[in-house]
Symmetry: C2
Subunit: 510 residues, 2 copies
């Protein structure tokens, strides 16, 4: 509706003391119609006092609280227009649709997008020019129609172009895990890598469906809400950092896309790869290792899918000058015994303290070794040994304590991590051999017990797959600060086959 | 996250004096995280004073205006919770995803939806339980993956079940046009039908991309914002009504779906058919005629597409006990000479007054005749003649005046319809024969001149396809109340091939 541009309407502003985080204004439907517009179309608002302008999407207020010719402006829109408190007159002109909507429609129509088109979409998302409805239509069409490799590269480059870049002197490396479940590999890997002289400004997520995200577990030990400046400073000084990615705005468009993907759990492969690689590029990574757990209950279900995804990561890496290696790992068995923020944080510290060396520690050392080889800090085939040596020497633990201190220390020893108020030991009612531990079921149990909101809640396994068990042996302990939740988790365990046993002794006399 | 249900959090309400028209609440991101939730997930709010409950989608406020543990509530949410002015404590518990989200995901994964699943989606949309992001994902997936006939019937029935029903004694009939452009067939057809003794409670739309919708043109003559009760009363008394559909809430879910479809101009065939048929059923229609204009610039591009769509309308009609007939019409040529609300209203009155009988009048009489035959008010093959007789007798005009009076009269004679302040006659610069009139271009010209906001603005053709033209003949007149817009429309005409001529006299001497 570009042809409406020279119609100018005048409104009285009605301030709304809330920051909406998006460029919307509230209007009466009758006023919208009079402008020749429909809800969710756009107006440009101009403050006649200072000529400041902003394009907003129209949302409808159906009540009489907005009088005729009143426009409701959220705090952030008022701020952008330089409107002080109270009411004033403002000019509004109908605007056409941004070009990017045409490109979204193109993707819906199963056509391939060019780099320029992808860039227009990403730019309009990061500048809040597209509404949530439009971004949702975009991610839905990417989910349904997919990106080919070229489009994935275009999306990666578009995301890189839209965000900030963190420049850190030295060799920056990174690690990313696609849909792992438990075990804080990152908290063991980062100090090993930093100790080896590389730079690793790791940003991690909080839990969405798991019992804890790395950010949740690290938060038990230190502050994780760091600014870009803090991440840069700590990485430069100490070599590594483990921050919550949600607090930094390295890739605003990507953050917005991910927020829209959550409600429907959309994770279109091309978008996931572009999102990961753009974030790695934005912190100047040169070498990246990707952990791809494969299993029935994790994001990547088959070896074939993992191999195909790994190849795409490598190809996209080439296009943005990042050397990528991807490791396919077993996502069917638990990565370490802990499920829940404090339990997982304690376990990571125990690995660093040399108290345990299990499959989680093994994975951390292998991934770290791959990074050491990629960056030529270790010769071919020697990365694993070098990483293990750093871990066993206690230097990784010392480095982790430096990182914890730099981020704002809460706890830096495994024995000081607090335990939940209530716990329950689960004992075997029969002898046998553990044939399977259901990772998804354990996760859900930990969440029922209260994780990740209740930081100390969760499940700690005392058994692993293949292990022989006597009747009465402790299989696991459930922790919670809430008795009812502890009961609910026990109840869930009784009703679901979380631990499957093959009985080795079959004796039954009737 | 059903497992979070027995966590109860307490918030202080912060009233927002705006009706949002959807069930959302505003919270700080930190509070959302503490509840173990993500933005766009759901909380159930409970007012401890009266136990009133409502499930809301969480929207994030990123500023400091909402203090920790404060929750921003829009006016309509406050109302549903029975919260009086000011601040009070409120309980919030995290909620799981509604089942309908799973069904939306199913459609995204190219699977077929059952009636029960469709019903769950429609019900959650009409009860505001799905966010705009989720509804957008739904319409996007229907656009991309489509509905088969069975799904279209399910959607129709689900929409019918979600809305109100208008019961009118007598034989109720209706007419619907899919994506026509100009010419108010409805304003000629409705009085003919009402005069024939049938009931036609017609609800029409406003313009979205055309120069005028029927509601815009009718509004020049009478009030069109009628309540359901008014529509019922006028139809019972007079036989017909021409109201704006946007003001009645016959199908709330459908209205919401259509609002979400607008920003991306999505019009998935199955959804369009379900939407039309559900609306017809909700006013108790027994016989419906569908006008399907086919043309390069209208919604339906080919005869094949129109035939297939017509068959689906008929089949869906059978499933909900409505007898449907569909007429495929020519969408490439203008339907009458007028583009713009007042111009189209005047032209419709002129047809009723017997001053003109052109292709628009012809179409109205044919569609009316089809309805008369369907409802057995006229024998087979005699519907057209009966409809034309009613028109020519002046009884349709008399009936139209009754309808205008009943709706709230503004004008009821063509000569009283006001003209725009400024006009410009476009004259032919050459002799020839008009080979094509570009309907889309004429529409855009009318919009540039100010239609539909400027009710009197638009274009009035003085020529038709195939007509022989002498140099200097008047081809059309442009109308506007704004001189700059008139100039802009002229400019657009000069730069675009709106009228294409074949020169009959080719004489050129060099």
């Amino acid at each position: 509706m570009d042809n409406m541009k020279d119609y100018i309407f005048t409104f009285s502003t009605k301030p709304i003391a809330i920051k909406a985080g998006k460029n919307i204004c509230l209007m009466n439907e009758a006023d919208v119609r009079e402008m020749g517009l429909n809800p969710f179309e756009r107006v440009q608002l101009i403050n006649p006092k200072n000529n400041k302008k902003i394009v907003t999407v129209i949302d409808i207020s159906q009540n009489k609280l907005l009088k005729e010719k009143e426009i409701g402006l959220f705090f952030d829109v008022q701020e952008k227009l330089g409107i002080k408190k109270g009411t004033q007159q403002i000019k509004a002109t109908p605007m056409g649709r941004p070009k990017s909507i045409e490109y979204i429609k193109k993707k819906m129509n199963k056509k391939k997008l060019t780099f320029e088109e992808m860039q227009a979409i990403v730019q309009d998302i990061s500048e809040n020019k597209l509404s949530e409805i439009e971004v949702s239509a975009f991610v839905s069409s990417v989910y349904i129609n997919g990106f080919d490799l070229e489009e994935t590269v275009s999306m990666t480059k578009a995301l890189i172009g839209s965000g900030q870049k963190l420049v850190i002197p030295g060799t920056v490396v990174d690690k990313h895990s696609i849909g792992g479940v438990n075990g804080r590999v990152t908290m063991v890997l980062v100090p090993i890598i930093a100790e080896a002289g590389l730079k690793i400004p790791k940003t991690s997520s909080r839990s969405i469906t798991s019992a804890a995200g790395t950010a949740d577990a690290m938060e038990v030990l230190a502050n994780v809400s760091l600014t870009i400046a803090q991440i840069k400073k700590i990485t430069q000084k100490i070599g590594g950092v483990i921050a919550w990615g949600g607090a930094v705005e390295l890739a605003p468009a990507d953050d917005k896309i991910i927020k829209i993907e959550h409600p429907l759990s959309l994770d279109p492969e091309g978008q996931v790869i572009a999102s990961v690689m753009a974030k790695k590029e934005s912190v100047s990574s040169k070498f990246v290792v990707i952990d791809l757990p494969v299993g029935k209950e994790v994001k990547v279900k088959t070896r074939e899918q993992a191999t195909s995804m790994a190849k795409k990561f490598i190809e996209v890496g080439k296009a943005v000058d990042i050397k990528v290696e991807a490791l396919i790992t077993n996502g069917d068995e638990p990565s370490g015994p802990a499920f829940g923020p404090a339990l997982e944080a304690r376990h990571a510290l125990e690995v660093l303290e040399g108290k345990v060396f299990d499959n989680m520690a093994q994975k951390a050392v292998e991934l770290a070794g791959t990074l050491l080889e990629l960056s030529e800090k270790a010769p071919k085939e020697k990365g694993y040994l070098k990483a293990k040596e750093i871990l066993e020497s206690g230097k990784a633990l010392k480095k982790m304590k430096e990182i914890i201190n730099a981020q704002g220390k809460k706890i830096d020893e495994s024995k000081k991590v607090p335990w939940a108020k209530f716990s329950h030991d689960v004992k075997s009612t029969q002898a046998g051999s553990i044939s399977q531990l259901d990772v998804k079921g354990l996760t859900l149990m930990a969440r029922i017990a209260g994780a990740p909101v209740d930081k100390e809640a969760g499940v700690l396994l005392n058994s692993e797959e293949g292990q022989k068990i006597k009747k009465g042996d402790k299989l696991m302990t459930i922790y919670s600060n809430n008795k009812r939740r502890l009961e609910a988790a026990r109840d869930y365990l009784h009703k679901n086959p979380i631990i499957q046993m093959e009985r080795v002794i079959l004796e039954k006399i009737e």
